[in-house]
């Protein structure tokens, strides 16, 4: 298994309730942007971003749920070969935290066993002034304490962060943390469906190389 390329591709899936900032978090990481009132979807396939951690380079292929999580209608394809997952909740919305717990459970059931999961409480920007002049907890927007998040993460044995996609606080740390945690393996798992795609490119066809040729001539129904 000699990889001439030092880059490790990592499929990362996002989970969490609608409007907790899944896409914003990724957008912040990928392009260091934040869009207010962002449309609730991202690109056509998935976003990619390279991340250098020490000597290794990780290329994240980040899959958004594309809304298919809303009615528990995520396809097996979504979880397949995912090596990392970010479960996002909104620290100002307790319901989103409850749902986060569900998604962690779902990941344990659907995804491969060695998946690296990070629990992320987003929208830290909304509460970061709490300690300042406005020291009145009744007025704080925070509804999920940092301890609750940390406890859940500890129970499940997963990573935990609080972030702000809006101002970028702690966002890169999530991806670096995941990158540090991902086992440097390219072994083929025993379970082919939930297995690790890493380094398992044998026989895989690169469809991009001849795409032009294909598009040019079509086929199948030649009217001989």
């Amino acid at each position: 298994m000699s990889f001439p390329n030092p880059t490790t591709s990592v499929k990362l899936v996002l989970l969490g309730e609608a409007a907790v900032g899944k896409s914003s978090l990724v957008l912040r990481f990928v392009s260091n942007e934040f869009q207010e009132n962002k449309e609730p979807t991202i690109g056509a396939a998935f976003l990619t971003q390279k991340c250098t951690i020490g000597s290794k380079v990780i290329k994240y292929e980040i899959w958004d749920t594309a809304g298919q999580e809303r009615f528990a209608s995520l396809a097996p394809m979504y979880y397949r070969n995912a090596q990392a997952a970010i479960v996002v909740y909104d620290i100002t919305k307790p319901a989103s935290f409850i749902k986060a717990r569900h998604w962690v459970k779902e990941l344990h059931e659907q995804a491969s066993k060695d998946i690296t999961i990070a629990l992320v409480g987003n929208k830290y920007d909304l509460v970061k002034n709490d300690s300042g002049e406005e020291d009145d907890s009744e007025n704080s927007l925070r509804k999920v304490s940092i301890e609750e998040g940390q406890n859940l993460a500890d129970e499940e044995g997963i990573l935990f962060f609080e972030t702000s996609a809006k101002d970028g606080f702690n966002v890169n740390e999530v991806f670096i943390g995941i990158g540090n945690h991902i086992p440097e393996s390219n072994n083929n798992s025993n379970n082919p469906l939930g297995g690790n795609s890493n380094g398992n490119n044998e026989g895989r066809i690169d469809l991009t190389s001849n795409a032009n040729n294909i598009n040019r001539s079509g086929g199948g129904e030649c009217a001989c």
Partner: protein, 655 residues
């Protein structure tokens, strides 16, 4: 790696207090809500409602939603793919029961056989992805072009398939494999010079431009002729070559196949060769149509389609256009409702029956009988080194059952991700209309493959087999028995009475019959009309369009054509079918390493771009893409997008 300073935030009053002390949340803290999904679809209206997440319906959903159509896409099952789904063994068990309870229209006679108990036949259901309608993809085909154009290929992995075996004279002595060029496809040393020359003559003919007057003339003159007579009469070919050309390369199923159809099918194979390497066909990893359906559904979701599984249409009022669903939601459907035959709501059953069986042009039904066997063998004997799948074809009359039609088998081992390594799945099917004959044909084909496999590995037999291999006493023949036994099949306890034979170890064996209104020769797809295809048959005034079950065709041919029929019926034309320019994801490309590898790929593309299929047979510059020389594979694709694949020729993907 200090993720954040926890100390700093602990100083906050807000954080020092437990969250209970905040204004009470709407939902009790960490109580209930095990399932977070919404129940109602929060939507007032949708343009198009699609019922069923099968292959055609999924491509349709993506095509429509990328044109800005608001699609609501539902499935009454708990999984994607509808009748083209990829299922685990547990799902398949449940599926068989539902078929036999009559809950899955257009399927019947489902049987599942899992030998031994839990102690002798250990497997994890989740390790299997079994396609109900497995298919192979030609390297030059409209679906592959669409996968690339739509970028859905990015969700999938493809592997090459180059081994086609033909069963003949009780042996699998013909192999199309390890060919380095089209000429080599027939590099059988036993061929006489004369035969070789005749073959070359035919290959040249088939690859000649279709506009060539001589070719046109010859095909016109022989348009009613069967391919068998044509090859004998015009090219003096002999039976073994004819079998190979017609049934293996062409994947025709009957000796009565007409010349033009067969020629098109043989050409399909030949022009697909060398497009991505020395193989004509690919299979998608982890499952075929089921996997591709999921890919298009994801694409559709990205474009705004709303998905909900486990949901039925309960009622629809054509005047108010309000659709009622089993989850209690009511949604106005502005344009059309597309319904797959396995999702047909009760209240539409008679409408559907009348449409299909009207007096003027009742549509004939075609049977597809399938036998799927999971065996504890990787079957590498039949595959090339780098590959994990193969095709086996039993031409008409090649089996002891005197089969009228070909039995076609796709074999995939653990390398394709559909079963654990060391095992493989044999997907066989026939279009034989007589169901008893069909079942006997499939069982006979299974026995031949089994015998061949055992024979090929005979020398290793003693070494490889241990006591475990001999524990299974019940025969695996679910078809080679009296019809009574077949029909009285019961889950888990069937076929125990059969004569035990020393056999391949079987994990699971599934048989069923599928019905379709699509002719096996696909004529009512490629020449669809109001009198032969249910899609076109529904009146323009009706809001409802019924789709078809997938055909028996082994490849994906016809799928896009059918999808476009529905698309045109909804939008009036298929001109803008996937007319999308995907401009996103191009932000990257700042990495030197990636950039240099991109150049290589782009060069290959240019080199190959000028190959015209008419002269492919003469062209020889194999760039063996897809083998291990190209580890970078899809890693660099996003950078490629700047260069060419999707930009320039997107409109030429038409068949």
């Amino acid at each position: 790696m200090p993720p954040f300073s926890r100390v700093e935030r602990r100083e906050s009053m807000a954080e020092r207090r437990p969250s209970m002390s905040y204004t009470p949340p709407v939902i009790p803290h960490l109580e209930g809500l095990e399932k977070p999904q919404q129940n109602h679809i929060e939507l007032d209206q949708a343009d198009v409602l699609i019922l069923g997440t099968g292959l055609i319906e999924s491509i349709l959903a993506a095509a429509l939603s990328w044109q800005g159509v608001q699609v609501l896409h539902l499935d009454n099952k708990s999984y994607y793919g509808d009748s083209a789904s990829t299922l685990t063994i547990d799902q398949l068990k449940k599926w068989c029961i539902e078929v036999n309870q009559g809950k899955l229209p257009n399927f019947q006679d489902a049987q599942i056989y899992i030998p031994g108990g839990k102690s002798t036949n250990k497997f994890k259901s989740k390790d299997y992805g079994i396609d109900l309608t497995p298919k192979i993809m030609f390297c030059k085909s409209d679906l592959l072009s669409l996968l690339i154009k739509s970028r859905v290929y990015k969700y999938l992995e493809f592997q090459s398939l180059s081994n086609f075996h033909v069963f003949e004279n009780d042996d699998f002595n013909k192999k199309i494999s390890n060919s380095t060029s089209k000429e080599d496809i027939f590099s059988n040393n036993s061929l006489s010079l004369l035969t070789k020359r005749n073959l070359m003559k035919f290959l040249k003919f088939i690859l000649t431009d279709n506009k060539n007057p001589e070719k046109k003339q010859l095909l016109f003159e022989n348009s009613k002729q069967t391919i068998i007579d044509f090859l004998k009469g015009q090219f003096n070919l002999e039976d073994p070559q004819i079998n190979e050309l017609v049934y293996s390369i062409g994947l025709c199923i009957k000796p009565t196949t007409k010349t033009p159809e067969a020629i098109a099918k043989i050409k399909r194979f030949l022009v697909s060769f060398d497009v991505y390497g020395n193989f004509p066909v690919m299979i998608s990893k982890y499952g075929g149509p089921g996997e591709i359906s999921q890919g298009f559904c994801r694409s559709a979701a990205v474009a705004g389609t709303i998905y909900k599984l486990n949901t039925n249409l309960v009622d629809y009022d054509p005047h108010t256009k309000i659709a009622q669903f089993s989850d209690g939601s009511n949604i106005k459907i502005n344009e059309k409702i597309i319904i797959s035959p396995t999702q047909l709501p009760k209240f539409l059953q008679s409408t559907y029956n009348e449409l299909v069986n009207d007096e003027i042009s009742p549509l004939p039904t075609y049977n597809i009988t399938r036998l799927i066997t999971v065996v504890r063998r990787d079957c590498k004997e039949w595959m090339s080194d780098q590959e994990s799948s193969a095709i086996v074809v039993f031409p008409p009359l090649s089996l002891p059952t005197q089969n009228n039609q070909s039995v076609q088998v796709i074999i995939q081992n653990g390398g394709t991700g559909i079963c654990p390594s060391g095992q493989s799945i044999w997907f066989s099917h026939t279009s034989e209309p007589d169901l008893n004959r069909a079942k006997l044909d499939l069982e006979s084909a299974f026995e031949k493959m089994e015998a061949s496999l055992l024979r090929e590995t005979e020398s290793n037999l003693e070494k490889n087999l241990n006591d475990e291999d001999f524990k299974i006493n019940s025969s695996a023949n679910i078809y080679s028995t009296t019809p009574i036994m077949v029909n009285s099949f019961k889950l888990g306890e069937h076929l125990q009475n059969f004569v035990p034979k020393e056999k391949l170890e079987i994990v699971c064996k599934v048989g069923f019959v599928q019905k379709t209104l699509i002719n096996p020769d696909l004529t009512n797809v490629f020449q669809a009309s109001e009198s032969n295809n249910v899609i076109l048959k529904s009146p323009a005034s009706s809001d409802i369009i019924f789709t078809n079950m997938l055909s028996s065709e082994l490849s994906y041919d016809g799928i896009i054509t059918e999808t476009k029929l529905i698309y045109s019926k909804i939008t009036g034309s298929d001109e803008d079918f996937f007319d999308v320019d995907f401009e996103d994801e191009d932000d990257e490309g700042n990495d030197d390493y990636t950039r240099s590898s991109t150049t290589t790929t782009a060069a290959n593309t240019i080199a190959n771009a000028h190959i015209d299929d008419a002269n492919l047979v003469h062209t020889k510059s194999t760039t063996s893409i897809g083998d291990n020389s190209n580890d970078i594979a899809i890693d660099d694709d996003d950078d490629d997008d700047n260069h060419e694949p999707f930009g320039t020729d997107v409109d030429n993907m038409e068949l």
